[in-house]
């Protein structure tokens, strides 16, 4: 054993950005631990980050470029991989135009700037990301409502925290880390939890609202009903800074009396009233919300109503409320992305852009449009794809259609760590570096006010960090990039006066935070006010006021289906060890959670003769998946809760069991089921039935 060298870097096993100290011995990372000096994670790490050495040095990891022939996968050089990919893309561009190439990513491994730049310089408007129903959709809805994403300001000790459809102690960090919430909670903040499941936080909560899955927007209108009726709003703020207040009040009074809200949400009126009072009368108070509210047809409207609550209670951009963090003066992801390089003519070709106008403004497409263009070649054919760190046959709705579409592409290049079921459909595999193998000004796209130095700790095999792959492939296609990854980072850092080497030593930068910024310049919306009546949606021909729209497949909207599919499926349950479809092959993590879990109320299970640990078929009109039963008396007997992201890396066949326990075999991606302005897919709430697996 040689000497252990310790290097600071930043995790990216999820979206966390937690500070890490990597222990390196003989050119190999032997251990990672949390960095107590990290300004955002304060030394905490989760299972996913702690297991990075088992990802990086996994025996199945692909360490060199490969191409697929009739005889399977073969090792090739980077030159051959990139030349082949560039040549195939050029053929497609010559014949069909650049819009016939889909450029896609998953949740992104912190290369969004490079990913978007590659797509824009390629000339394709067809950028396929999770953004239509995750984070970017949240951001888009806040941009048109109050000009920026309001983040719960744990640092300034909210006295009341509303944890709305999220558990930051387990997942979904984005701007947030569980440790910061926990510190604020431990200081005595009141806690309101809105969650269909009883769990650690709902048991700790002062008030737990067990909402019918997917009806959060109606519940938020119920909050407003109480706040308006009892005049608990900040009158001065509303008068000065809210656009459309009177019309909105009218809608709340007309359409959302508490009795009706209770019918929609299953939450008792008294409880809604108590929660609304607690939130509105405790100052400061913050709302922290997660993806479940985005992954339905109410995506945009829920976020708009939530922003309304923050505004009406005077908590917007107030310390300890929901604030707009000021970024450090590095160049923005949007500038690096070169969105202006995409011509107006190409922008107009964005698939679904005419329909999903807010999604198009956020520069993404909804996946359904991509699958339609591939399979039906409408409105024009899509022939090739470049998918980066994404496994859509497992993670996107209506997985059967996704699989058929990707299989039909003339050419598909994939960049990833492992041969996932999606990667197995590709023609070229480009081996990507993990966060241990990445230099980056990280977290630049987030709205928490920091950038952090992720520095390359090791190189493994022939893997390249994705940023370099985008650059080198782009250069082969005549695109303008920097000579090296680090040169590009230098350009990002230029306004700070720091070089990449200097930034690495400092570790992080924080913007100069100020509060109540609207007092000087208003909000960044067309009226300079918080737009409860959205002038942008109005201009586009959508309902300018937010509302709850019934879930497209529910006992309310589809009583005709209830006999065959009597339960509400709450799909996509997240667990701490996995990040979407990742980590099922990581021994330390799979040992903790060996099987996909479906939670069933004991009464419901008994009705079907299902016992704890039994394998269960979950079925919808679109397909079925099997998961292992766990009985949970903390859910409503009418609700079934199922994990997402499951495939079986240990299965040696190229499909790796992608269709066995994949909850997205059941989900719907029809246009009717989506958010009408964003194009958010409903990955969360649908009707299902259950039955014991007879063959197990």
């Amino acid at each position: 054993m040689g000497e252990v060298m310790k290097m600071k870097t930043v995790c990216r096993s999820c979206h966390g950005g937690c500070g890490v100290i990597a222990h390196v011995n003989g050119g190999k990372v032997v251990k990672v631990e949390g960095d107590p000096d990290s300004p955002i994670s304060h030394g905490a790490m989760c299972t996913k980050g702690l297991a990075i050495t088992q990802v990086a040095y996994h025996p199945d990891r692909v360490l060199h470029p490969m191409k697929k022939t009739d005889k399977g996968w073969h090792r090739i050089s980077w030159d051959e991989a990139l030349d082949t990919t560039a040549a195939r893309f050029s053929e497609v561009i010559d014949k069909y135009g650049p819009e016939a190439i889909i450029v896609g990513q998953g949740t992104g491994r912190d290369y969004e700037s490079h990913f978007s730049r590659f797509g824009n310089l390629l000339g394709t408007p067809n950028i396929l990301t999770a953004g239509h129903m995750c984070y970017l959709s949240r951001t888009g809805a806040t941009l048109i409502t109050c000009g920026n994403l309001p983040v719960c300001d744990y640092e300034n000790n909210p006295e009341c925290i509303v944890m709305w459809a999220v558990n930051p102690l387990w997942t979904n960090p984005d701007e947030y880390k569980g440790v910061n919430f926990w510190r604020a909670y431990e200081k005595g903040a009141k806690l309101i939890v809105i969650d269909p499941r009883k769990d650690f936080l709902s048991k700790r909560a002062d008030l737990w609202l067990q909402v019918r899955p997917g009806t959060d927007a109606a519940l938020a209108m119920g909050f407003f009903n109480v706040i308006i009726e009892e005049e608990l709003y900040d009158r001065d703020f509303v008068l000065a800074h809210v656009h459309g207040w009177d019309a909105f009040v009218e809608r709340v009074k007309m359409d959302y009396p508490l009795k009706r809200v209770e019918e929609i949400t299953w939450v008792q009126q008294d409880l809604i009233r108590k929660a609304a009072r607690l939130y509105a009368t405790t100052k400061p108070a913050g709302i922290h919300w997660g993806v479940p509210t985005e992954q339905t047809n109410n995506c945009t409207d829920f976020t708009r109503i939530a922003v309304g609550l923050m505004a009406a209670t005077g908590n917007l951009d107030a310390p300890g409320g929901n604030v707009f963090h000021v970024p450090p003066p590095v160049r923005k992801v949007s500038e690096f992305s070169a969105h202006k390089a995409l011509s107006a003519e190409q922008q107009q070709k964005r698939l679904g852009g005419e329909q999903y106008k807010l999604g198009a403004r956020m520069t993404f497409i909804t996946p359904k449009c991509a699958w339609d263009a591939i399979l039906a070649e409408k409105p024009y054919p899509v022939k090739a794809g470049y998918l980066v760190g994404t496994n859509p046959v497992v993670s996107r709705a209506n997985a059967g259609e996704v699989y058929r579409a990707l299989k039909k592409l003339d050419f598909l290049a994939i960049s990833d760590f492992f041969l996932t079921p999606t990667a197995e459909l590709a023609d070229i595999f480009l081996p990507a570096g993990t966060w241990l193998e990445q230099n980056h000004v990280s977290e630049n796209w987030k709205r928490h006010g920091y950038v952090l130095a992720r520095q390359k700790v090791v190189e493994i095999g022939e893997c390249w960090q994705d940023h370099k792959i985008f650059m080198e492939l782009g250069k082969r296609m005549g695109q303008q990039w920097w000579d090296t990854v680090e040169d590009a980072l230098g350009w990002l850092l230029e306004p700070t006066g720091l070089t990449w080497e200097q930034f690495k030593k400092i570790g992080y930068l924080r913007g100069d935070m100020r509060y109540y910024k609207y007092k000087e310049r208003g909000f960044s919306t067309p009226t300079r006010k918080v737009e409860l009546h959205s002038s942008i949606l109005d201009k586009w021909g959508f309902d300018p006021l937010p509302k709850y729209t019934e879930i497209p497949e529910s006992p309310v909207s589809r009583p005709d289906m209830v006999e065959k599919y009597p339960y509400i499926l709450n799909a996509g349950f997240r667990t701490p060890t996995f990040f979407h479809s990742a980590n099922r092959n990581i021994p330390w993590l799979r040992e903790i959670r060996p099987d996909p879990i479906v939670e069933i109320h004991p009464e419901t299970a008994a009705h079907h003769g299902i016992e704890e640990g039994d394998w269960v078929w979950i079925e919808s009109p679109r397909g079925r998946a099997k998961e292992r039963a766990k009985l949970n008396d903390g859910i409503d007997p009418r609700v079934i809760v199922a994990e997402h992201g499951w495939w079986y890396p240990e299965m040696n066949s190229p499909d790796h069991g992608w269709d066995i326990s994949n909850i997205n075999m059941l989900t719907d991606n029809s246009h009717e089921s989506m958010d009408p302005v964003m194009g958010a897919t409903n990955l969360r709430v649908l009707l299902c039935n259950i039955s014991p697996c007879e063959d197990e």
Binding site: L50, W170, W588, L589
Partner: protein, 122 residues
């Protein structure tokens, strides 16, 4: 010598399982031995770990006296004496509950050096 202990606040366990992976990494363990384990009993999370009991049932159960408790209050297994019979696992209330397969050795690295006693995963 001052008593040392590893404290779990059971009521604050939120089921993140990070302690399990941290333990595996620290002691270079693969799949199998689980020196600490969080049991999920909906909707409770119960961390199971070595309590380093004052009168360890494991010590009582060991036929070859490989298990001792030192002056710091740490229960240790002497690797050289252990015959691998796993009687101790049966005897331990914590271990039997959750198939926790060994004694948590965290925080005793220095003790190891001082005493020359080895810690093992059964």
């Amino acid at each position: 010598m001052e008593k040392v202990s590893l404290t779990f606040k059971k009521k604050d366990c939120m089921g993140c399982h990070a302690c399990e992976v941290a333990c595996k990494q620290e002691h270079q363990l693969g799949v199998g031995p689980r020196l600490v384990r969080v049991i999920e009993k909906i909707s409770d999370y119960i961390p199971i770990y070595c309590h380093h009991c004052a009168k360890p049932p494991r010590k009582e159960a060991c036929p070859v006296d490989a298990i001792t408790r030192n002056e710091q209050g740490i229960v240790l297994i002497n690797n050289d004496l252990c015959i691998g019979c796993k009687e101790c696992l049966q005897a331990c209330r914590q271990g039997a509950r959750a198939e926790v397969s060994g004694l948590c050795p965290c925080g005793v690295e220095e003790v190891k050096k001082l005493t020359g006693t080895h810690l093992i995963a059964a």
